[in-house]
Symmetry: C2
Subunit: 390 residues, 2 copies
């Protein structure tokens, strides 16, 4: 059943090899001052920086640069960006990078003109900007695929002192007004980052899929996205510059987390909650924290959601039902996921991400407990799942 | 491969049992004069008219009513609506009905302030409104499911004198600004109309799916939508008031034709072209014209697209590959579609829609020939397909 909801998505996407040729036009809708944010500077080595600066020049923009956005953007970095955006009174924040950079731009977007502690207000207390509060528009040039941040309101910020990594889903005003999606811009991403992104996509889909017992169109769409992702991931890990595979993965990532496949249904999100807590403790790559805990988590909740795991086996992994019990089928789905994690080279063990036995209790404490999945976890169960994931 | 495209969809959807409770709020964004369009008046018998008038009253709107929109809206009716919209200088056209009524509202939207022959300009010559040309915003309350008109720019208008039924896909300015989607509003639709809508949805998906030989995420999404539709249609024909089934069908219809599953890929659309020509000759229900010609058309083109038909058999109809050639599998997909048409009660023969042997040449003449599918048809082939569909 499709439940009650409001759907609205204001992001205009420019997709394809020549997508960046639209950037100068897309910039016309905004004022003259642009805050250009990016990460460690890889965009200066692969030509993307030049494409973007050219478009900004053609559009006649005054550019303020803010680089050094880290993979897990911190509160301090957010506050620095907010100050720069405010002092320069920028009209647009243009994020060039992956999910971290776009998430970061959204955080600045709301924090710049907020008088108070933006971390406490928007992230810890999960408050929304109120009507009349100034929000700076965000645009994006995507260079790394996975988070779906290019077409949603999500923003994840880390507080290393408090050991908290918190995601906030903002509304349509904070979503990117436009995003440039050129699959070739992702070719030079290091293999590990590509694989982490691929698992992040799979996890987004599973978080929305593995909940509910009703018949729901969203679940069929989720199955389609997973089948496409599995097919293309197997090509991409062998041939990172295969345009067909990389373009499919890019498009799958966008639709895996722009609300479509979660509309009108319950959702889980515990893998992300545990993964984010690991990220706060270790600064590990997001997608790898998810692959590292997924198998132990799914084995733990399998009995409670057996029917859906069995459906996952049949409809996504193509495992024949004949001669198998529902329980065997459900288990086979999880083992197929475990095999695929190894096949693409994602992390199977969180010890490889720097997690130690001593951290487990703290990570479990830092984990937000969600209630939409097949089973609501307690502290001890989270510690057990983490231990089994070591 | 996902090709190059721009994606943007401005429609806000309010979905669910209480969706109409959002209408008064949604109306606030527009001026005071609303042109309310609807069909033969069934909305006055099922309570929907009252819900809509209440919302218009709460929102303080002045309402001009324009009823009598027919299943295949005509040029004369479009011109009448355009005149009324212009004379009253309306700020919004609110369509309450199915695809015909919403298509009609879009046609008025562009025709009202166009100086000249709107039929020739927008439909025959397929021109787009130019920047600066006034477009009246459109809103929709959906009461019949199938066309996807609630979230796209499509509008189909019929010229009975010229015996032409032409679809035009307008841009984002003409797309509904909002749409109210309450599955319960579709419960009282006559069974034949519900079934015609269900086949229309299937046809929209197949038109986009049955083209191209590459690996494309869009095709996986299409498979998911088809599986959901087949499952829910089997419930809905037995229990028309099954909310789960009707809500899934409603949501599937929207995403079957709001550009998502066609992005970045080639498309066919010949079933619609032939079906529309039949509609111009017979005034038959749109969805039934599509079911009536689909099987003969697909048998005719099967050899050219064998691989995709075989994939349809495996991934949508769940037909096991074992022991079958690709050709046998492909054929099985078409026969499964033929069986499903009978099962849900859609038309299998166009003679039942009033088509006679004498009309075939004229219908073939009135058929626009598209080139995106597996085979480009000529006049004689269209006549043959029509004859086999009698």
């Amino acid at each position: 059943m499709i439940g009650n909801f409001v759907y609205s998505n204001p992001t205009t996407l420019y997709f394809g090899k020549d997508a960046c040729a639209n950037l100068a036009d897309a910039l016309k809708a905004f004022g003259s001052k642009v805050l250009l944010t990016y990460g460690a500077g890889s965009i200066k080595r692969n030509g993307i920086y030049e494409d973007v600066i050219n478009a900004l020049t053609v559009a006649g923009k005054e550019v303020i640069e803010l680089s050094g956005v880290m993979p897990n953007p911190t509160v301090d970095k957010m506050n620095e960006g907010a100050r720069i955006a405010r002092e320069n009174d920028v009209d647009l924040i243009l994020a060039v990078g992956g999910g971290s950079t776009i998430d970061y731009a959204k955080a600045i977007s709301v924090a710049a003109w907020y008088d108070g502690n933006a971390w406490d207000h928007f992230f810890v207390e999960q408050k929304d900007p109120q009507p009349g509060e100034r929000i700076i528009p965000v645009g994006a040039v995507l260079t790394m695929v996975g988070t779906g941040s290019e077409m949603n309101g999500g923003s994840v910020i880390t507080n290393p002192v408090q050991k908290l990594k918190i995601g906030k889903v903002f509304g349509t005003d904070v979503m990117p007004r436009f995003a440039i999606l050129n699959p070739e811009y992702t070719f030079t991403v290091p293999r590990k980052q590509m694989v982490a992104g691929i698992f992040d996509i799979m996890s987004h889909i599973l978080e929305q899929y593995l909940s509910g017992d009703d018949d729901n169109t969203s679940d069929y769409l989720a199955e389609g996205l997973m089948r496409s992702l599995i097919t293309s991931s197997r090509v991409a890990v062998k041939e990172p510059e295969n345009y067909e595979a990389r373009s499919n993965i890019m498009w799958t990532a966008t639709w895996a987390l722009n609300t479509l496949i979660g509309e009108g249904k319950s959702q889980d999100w515990m893998v992300h909650m545990i993964g984010q807590a690991i990220g706060a403790y270790t600064d590990a790559t997001h997608g790898m924290t998810l692959s590292g805990v997924s198998i132990a988590y799914y084995r733990h909740i399998m009995a409670a959601g057996q029917q859906k795991f069995a459906r996952l086996a049949r409809n996504v992994w193509g495992i024949p039902s004949a001669g198998k019990t529902e329980e065997e089928l459900a288990s086979a789905a999880i083992e197929a996921l475990a095999d695929w994690i190894k096949e693409i080279g994602a992390a199977s063990e969180i010890s490889s991400l720097g997690v130690t036995e001593e951290m487990l209790d703290g990570i479990a404490d830092a984990t937000f407990i969600m209630t939409g999945g097949y089973k609501t976890l307690n502290h001890a169960e989270i510690v057990n799942i983490l231990r089994e994931s070591l």
